[in-house]
């Protein structure tokens, strides 16, 4: 937390969404902007063409939706406990995504930039670690493959702090 910021901010605005439609990150960013915030950090996860040298055509995302929403809400609440935030929102896309499309967007507003950066990173790290969403690769060289973290990665949420 940045020193000198009183924890007397009004309750931060939080928002979670799962959607099959393209994510409008400008609308999401506008939602967190405020006269009380000096810093806004927006993160976009996008579908990358190459992973370890292998070419992707598209990704399919699937979620356990009620739990994914609940877990995203908990992650935002944790972020607001750790950093003084004005607003924090996260949207995750589901279904078929083509190259370059946005799979996840996080926007965080805070009075000071260090808090905004740290909170946005926390939300993304925890989202990838804990939220019950899975992606399946559709490889250019044929075949599909569910992506699961490699052996040796923390597999149970909460096992390891980053």
């Amino acid at each position: 937390m940045t020193e000198g910021t009183p924890r007397t901010l009004p309750e931060p605005l939080l928002h979670v969404s799962l959607t099959e439609q393209p994510i409008d990150y400008t609308a999401l960013t506008e939602r967190v902007r405020s006269h009380r915030a000096g810093a806004v950090v927006t993160f976009l996860g996008t579908v990358r063409e190459f992973t370890a040298g292998r070419r992707t055509l598209a990704l399919d995302y699937e979620a356990y939706e009620p739990m994914a929403r609940a877990e995203l809400q908990r992650i935002l609440a944790e972020a607001t406990e750790q950093w003084p935030l004005v607003a924090a929102v996260v949207e995750h896309r589901l279904g078929r995504l083509e190259l370059g499309e946005i799979s996840v967007a996080v926007a965080v507003a805070a009075p000071h930039r260090r808090d905004a950066f740290q909170a946005a990173q926390y939300v993304m790290d925890q989202t990838k670690r804990r939220v019950p969403i899975w992606k399946r690769e559709n490889w250019a060289d044929g075949g599909t493959e569910w992506v699961h973290p490699p052996e040796g990665m923390p597999q149970r949420p909460g096992d390891a702090a980053e």
Partner: protein, 97 residues
């Protein structure tokens, strides 16, 4: 109630478990009724469900030990007690983002 993880009451509980992603593809269904020993009337544990799934689907191999469970919308561990009518989900390590 006896210690969780230890079968009791001589009976079996049946719990409906939703499954996702690669686990759903392997099992060929998005939900299955898992029969596991009761630890008290109408109750079993996540650990016993995991063992029962491994027994009916030996093709899971090492994935079985990595499977995550949720009761309601929260993560559960092997000691979590589960009632037959709980919303239980089981899935491989997550890969969103």
């Amino acid at each position: 109630m006896k210690a969780s993880g230890e079968p009791g009451q001589g009976g079996e509980c049946v719990v409906r478990v939703r499954v996702f992603a690669r686990l759903r593809d392997i099992l060929g269904t998005d939900a299955l009724d898992v029969s596991a020993p009761c630890v008290s009337p109408g109750k079993t544990t996540v650990g016993l469900l995991r063992q029962a799934i491994g027994a009916v689907a030996p093709e899971l191999g090492s994935l079985n030990g990595a499977l995550l469970f949720a009761v309601g919308t929260e993560y559960a561990d092997d000691t979590t007690v589960v009632a037959s009518d709980d919303d239980v989900a089981c899935f491989p390590p997550v890969s969103g983002g």
